[in-house]
Amino acid sequence: MNDFAIEVSGLKKSYRNQRALNHLDLRVPAGSIFGFLGRNGAGKTTTIKILMGMLRADGGTARIFGMDIGDPRLCMEARSRIGFVTEDKDLFPYMTVEQMIRFTRPFFPRWRDDLESRYLKIFDLPPKRKISDLSKGMRSKLMLLIAVCHGAELLILDEPTDGLDPAATEEVLRELVAIAASQQTTIFFSSHQLTEVEQIADSICIVDKGRAIVTGVLDDLKARYQRLQVVLENESAVPARWVEGVDHVRREGRTLSILASGNISAIVGQIESLPGATFERFPVGLKEIFLENVRSDENALV
């Protein structure tokens, strides 16, 4: 039994002279719903393609259920345990829903008939309709159905709700939660929709410029991160060095806004040592954590 469904360490990949992954580290606990976040071009799809054996890394290692995917034989074995939904939803447009499912089944010896009929009903997919005539949302659902039905222990989903309306998104999220709860499946999904990640993920990784910059259990990150809003009495009184845990400091006139990623009591101590300073504390959501970490730092003092 592996504690981690996916373990990536020091992964490197460049396209010509463009660096896509720069020592990426990633650990996805087995049984988690893991949100893989980043801006466009941050390295999400490259990482997923390497995990699926569709691209070779220039350096570092990637393991799925402990199997090194750099080894072609182990990679094949790992792939048989993964369900995959790509960004471009590559299905055969000339087939009907029913034909697509019948075509896919024989590749997977552990195909689940029970789940197939369940999800055909839940997702309300018309079996006789051609894939080219399906809406974007229905195509996502069909891919998800195929990924789930082949009995995968790990679902790798690249932007699974991309292009879906809010109602269809909620439906897909609800099913992902149900799959995680009932099949003990690990779900690894990339997204730049912070709200959906915040809604269903228990662990996250924020990737930027090919590196993991924030990673951990989402509720623990929320407990650690705080914003401190400081009002100074004297405009010049700012410490030259902040204690550890201060990630970003912004200043506007007499106000300092500090984003802290932990060590709060020491930071509070430092603020209280400033003459006449008063402060307030606010909880910080994923959106703020994300934006503060991936934004280009023009006003930042730290």
Binding site: V177, A180, A181, I200, G285, K287
Partner: protein, 133 residues
């Protein structure tokens, strides 16, 4: 029991869930012996992570609010009846303190912030559990 979570508030979801169950116990919406929804049902109803629901239930068990019975789910503990008496007494203490603060000219927001800062400091020193939201 109607639960509502605010995903983007920055307050950990498992703490929000715990607070709402506790609040339901304090108001009497949940009483000792009542059964909570199964973790799986709650996760699906609220469209939230099953591991997060499990964490909230485990913490509630740890605090003596619910009892987890293997296979049959989570139940509100007998001891919570006592707790709601403590809450009633606390209310009297808070009432007189707030009245004094209002009389000294502080606004509602100012009082709320003062209380929240005190709670946050206690929490950092490890003398307080819960979100304090």
């Amino acid at each position: 029991m109607i639960l509502r979570l605010n995903q983007s508030s920055g307050i950990p979801l498992y703490l929000q869930l715990m607070e709402q169950v506790k609040h339901a116990v304090e108001t009497g919406a949940l009483q000792s012996g009542d059964q909570l929804p199964t973790m799986r049902k709650l996760a699906e109803d609220l469209v939230m992570n099953p591991n997060t629901v499990a964490r909230a239930y485990r913490e509630l068990e740890h605090e003596g609010i619910v009892e987890l019975k293997h296979g049959s789910g989570a139940f509100i503990c007998e001891s919570t009846a006592r707790k709601s008496k403590v809450t009633k007494k606390a209310q009297a203490v808070v009432q007189s303190a707030v009245e004094r603060l209002v009389a000294s000219g502080l606004s509602g927001d100012e009082i709320r912030r003062l209380v929240e800062n005190e709670l946050a400091l206690l929490r950092d020193e490890g003398k307080l559990q819960g979100s304090g939201s």
